[in-house]
């Protein structure tokens, strides 16, 4: 019964190959979906930062800050990166005091932008790497997904803050400098 054996072997090979290809396709899909999710999250956090910056700009009567924040909120996709960079630079130039809720929101949103940008960059890199595989390209596994794009902005870190409020347990008074 050699015919029987060869059929079994062929079926087994086909099943294994199909499972392998499905597994690769699943990984490619997951990488792309994550990159897309990260992009939406980054977009949301940039919006929040710009909105918070506009509030602080208005409250402190900082016309320039308010203007760049508005520009970042309204920027077209192709101008978005430079508009966000302008906002980052403007934020790095101002002196913040951690006190009022608007400033705290601005600091929180800025920190979230830093993390969201880092994660987005890493996930885009991962998705692009998965597209490069020979098998993936040959079978067009990534065709369903648009090519993920890096969002190329400067590291949006805020300058060092004034010292945080003293911990409640041992509120040591700061000596006059």
């Amino acid at each position: 019964m050699p015919g029987m054996w060869s059929v079994t072997v062929v079926v087994a090979v086909v099943v294994l190959l199909a499972a392998y290809l499905l597994w690769i396709a699943h990984r490619v899909a997951r990488m792309h979906e994550r990159a897309q999710s990260a992009e939406r999250a980054l977009d949301a956090h940039l919006m929040r930062r710009a909105a918070a910056a506009a509030v602080v700009g208005e409250a402190t009567q900082n016309v320039e800050l308010y203007a760049v924040a508005r520009l970042a909120l309204d920027a077209d996709p192709d101008e978005r990166e430079s508009a966000e960079n302008d906002l980052t630079r403007q934020l790095q130039a101002i002196r913040l005091t951690e006190g009022d809720p608007a400033t705290r929101t601005l600091l929180t949103t800025s920190r979230r932008v830093v993390v969201a940008r880092q994660v987005h960059t890493d996930l885009v890199r991962g998705a692009l790497t998965s597209r490069e595989r020979l098998l993936v390209r040959a079978l067009g596994m990534a065709r369903r997904y648009p090519r993920p794009q890096y969002f190329d902005i400067e590291e949006p870190v805020m300058p060092a803050l004034p010292l945080p409020a003293a911990p409640p347990s041992q509120a040591a008074p700061l000596e006059a400098v």
Partner: protein, 384 residues
């Protein structure tokens, strides 16, 4: 939030990564989150209530020391069971580039995974050999944290990825509430040093020179030294008549370290280089000591540019001597430096550091299922 944390190393043996994980878990629980820690441990080991054992650990030479890890079918089954029962919102693994349950957990996970890199050494040789496995592990990690700039740099260079830098925290309350050693700090003034005193870059020679000179004119001045090393080697270089004024504790436990730091008036960090982050400084600050440190970048940053501790030119024993002398004569300046240090160190307190980690968790969740998290992590919990 339900958080699952995986420790690659056994809790039977103390270590930096294990301490980090315990402090983080306790801080997160304190912030109102549900935390479960999975770690290798022998059956009879007493574990904190939030730790689940992943089975026995066996010793494995790793990175110059011996780590106790577990890996194999039994561990795999336990890891999978822990993950499926835990229903975690986020899985946080540590040192995922070593052969350990961290790798098993990453591979078994379906949701968001955050990975923390501690050492600058990024992957074991065994894992580098298994390139495909390494790729699968990296692919599943959603967000990465590096505890130091060095760890982050190695990340970028070797793994082709970035990382959010979040330094180690300090459990400020543990240090602030430690009991000083009996008879310390005493009234004649006391200086402290912790570290490998034989290692030139730790700069102990500078402190010894300064101490010997100061001790001649200050009959009550004592020196407290802790850290690994040979007792005879330490005393060899100190004049015999000062031997009874120098105390050597040897290698100390975490609890004794806190007590030791509480026992000195001035903690001296005379390092001549090589410190990426002044962890020991933040601990001494938390313990309420006045800090004297070399003017290294890392130290200057931790000490808020010299406001939270006194700096002396790196490697200058004469400058160290005169600085220590003036501080020993001026208790009110010491007190004001220590008070400023107490405020500065609160930025490194674990609850604050845990809030940064929570922001990374939120980002990882956002990147996995697309929802954007509204919760305000940065607000400390309400209450007194």
């Amino acid at each position: 939030m339900r958080i699952g944390i995986v420790s690659p190393y056994s809790f039977d043996v103390p270590g930096g990564v294990q301490n980090h994980i315990m402090d983080l878990a306790e801080a997160l629980i304190g912030l109102g989150h549900e935390v479960s820690v999975l770690a290798p441990a022998d059956e009879d080991t007493e574990l904190p209530p939030y730790v689940v054992s992943a089975g026995r650990a066996f010793p494995l030479p790793y990175n110059g020391s011996v780590a106790r890890i577990s890996f194999g079918p039994v561990s795999t089954a336990r890891v999978r069971r822990w993950i499926s029962r835990g229903k975690f919102d986020v899985l946080h693994v540590h040192e995922p580039m070593t052969f350990s349950i961290s790798v098993l957990a990453v591979l078994s996970s379906r949701g968001p995974v955050v990975a923390t890199f501690h050492t600058a050494m990024t992957r074991s040789r065994a894992l580098s050999a298994a390139q495909g496995l390494l790729q699968m592990v990296i692919e599943k990690i959603t967000a990465r944290i590096a505890v130091s700039e060095l760890a982050r740099k190695v990340q970028v260079e070797h793994l082709g990825g970035g990382a959010v830098e979040i330094p180690n925290g300090v459990a400020v309350a543990k240090y602030a509430s430690a009991t000083p050693l009996p008879g310390w700090p005493g009234s004649g003034g006391s200086l402290g040093f912790l570290g490998r005193f034989t290692e030139p870059r730790k700069g102990f020679d500078l402190l010894r020179t300064a101490y010997v000179a100061l001790a001649r004119s200050r009959p009550g001045l004592r020196l407290l030294v802790a850290g690994p090393g040979d007792r005879d080697e330490l005393f060899e270089e100190i004049p015999a008549d000062l031997h009874d004024r120098v105390t050597y504790l040897g290698l100390v436990s975490e609890a004794d370290k806190a007590r030791m730091l509480r026992s000195v008036d001035i903690y001296v960090a005379p390092n001549t280089g090589g410190e990426s982050f002044g962890m020991i400084l933040t601990e001494a600050m938390a313990a309420g000591a006045t800090i004297v440190a070399s003017d290294l970048d890392a130290f200057r940053r931790v000490l808020d540019g010299g406001k939270a501790g006194a700096l002396f030119p790196t490697g200058d024993a004469a400058a160290l001597e005169s600085l220590l002398g003036s501080l020993l004569d001026d208790p009110s300046r010491r007190a004001s430096l220590a008070a400023a240090a107490g405020v500065a160190v609160s930025a490194f307190d674990w609850p604050r550091v845990a809030l940064r980690v929570l922001e990374v968790y939120a980002t990882a969740i956002e990147a996995t299922d697309g929802r954007v998290i509204d919760e305000e992590w940065s607000e400390p919990p309400s209450g007194p």
